[in-house]
């Protein structure tokens, strides 16, 4: 019956449902009390008035003016950062790929020495380094 009571506040009940509800309301003081409380909640909510802070209209008009001038409206840093992140990531990957290709072209291979920039250590080189004295 409680569901029917709530529905009666938002929707048109059938004649039969309405009759049932009216009878239940006559019988049950608890249900009558619930009806009063639900009505109070409804009134509380409809009495809640919200408004924007002072200067809201001016801020909107400034944003519209900026929009007209083609300025980028940065209302939320994180929002912009998220949308920029993909572009930055893709650019980064492209740059890395270009570097790898240029390394391959200049060195003819892609071994670890190519990346570290160290010449291959041959036995002769190592001996000459070890024997060198100031």
């Amino acid at each position: 019956m409680y569901d029917l009571l709530i529905r009666s506040m938002n929707d048109q009940l059938t004649a039969e449902e309405d009759k049932q509800l009216q009878q239940a309301l006559k019988r049950s003081s608890e249900l009558r009390e619930e009806k009063i409380k639900l009505n109070k909640v409804g009134k509380l909510l409809s009495s809640r008035n919200y408004s924007f802070s002072d200067g809201f209209r001016s801020r909107v008009m400034q944003a519209v003016s900026d929009e007209k001038k083609g300025k980028v409206i940065s209302m939320d840093f994180s929002r912009n950062f998220t949308s920029m992140f993909n572009r930055i990531a893709i650019s980064g990957v492209v740059v890395i790929l270009l570097l790898v290709i240029s390394l391959y072209i200049s060195h003819g291979s892609l071994n670890i020495n190519t990346f570290t920039g160290v010449d291959p250590i041959s036995e002769d080189n190592l001996i000459s380094v070890l024997l060198y004295e100031k």
Partner: protein, 185 residues
């Protein structure tokens, strides 16, 4: 200086389309309160709601050319405001889930018992918190039907769901609110 208050919404839209910013400003004044009710009912009385309110009018400005007048202007702007509010809630949830555990996120809403419920600002705060305690899908229906006074059909059109869904969500929302606002009812 021209007085724009006497113009109808459609006349103001036409003028705004032709670059008359003052006409658009008049539309902002007319619907500011309605947008505030929608976004603050959905997000609470905070800075994020102010930003979403501002974004609502900017989106509306961008879509002026597309507005054909099929629905009332208020309904059209409210649809933008609700969609942006729901997006904001999703975004906030993502941030919350990064920093808090699911248990923290789903903690039940409790009304502080030591409050003086006769105080007007406390009452406002309780209503705001009660609304925020509702799931967004119920909250959006409650805001449209109970705060903004839209009919079931209009709310269904704004949220793009069947009228039956509006009624069932509204009933759930009312039951929750009845429990949460017990001290005031």
């Amino acid at each position: 200086m021209r007085d724009y208050t006497s113009y109808s919404d459609s006349e103001l839209i036409e003028k705004a389309k032709h670059g008359e910013d003052v006409a658009f400003g008049e539309l902002v004044s007319r619907y500011e309160q309605q947008v505030a009710g929608t976004v603050k009912g959905m997000l609470g009385d905070n800075a994020a709601a102010e930003d979403v309110g501002q974004e609502t009018f900017i989106r509306f400005y961008r879509s002026l050319e597309k507005f054909r007048g099929d629905s009332a202007l208020g309904t059209y702007i409210t649809r933008i405001a609700i969609n942006l509010s729901l997006n904001e809630i999703k975004k906030q949830k993502k941030v919350i889930s990064l920093f808090y555990s699911r248990d923290d996120e789903e903690k039940e809403f409790n009304i502080p018992e030591e409050r003086n419920h006769g105080d007007e600002s406390d009452t406002k705060e309780l209503i705001d918190n009660a609304l925020l305690a509702l799931k967004p899908e119920f909250r959006s229906v409650v805001v449209l039907r109970m705060l903004q006074g839209y009919s079931t059909k209009e709310a269904a059109s704004i949220l793009n769901v069947p009228a039956g869904t509006i009624l069932s969500r509204l009933a759930r929302g009312q039951k929750e609110l009845r429990k949460i606002l017990e001290p005031l009812a």
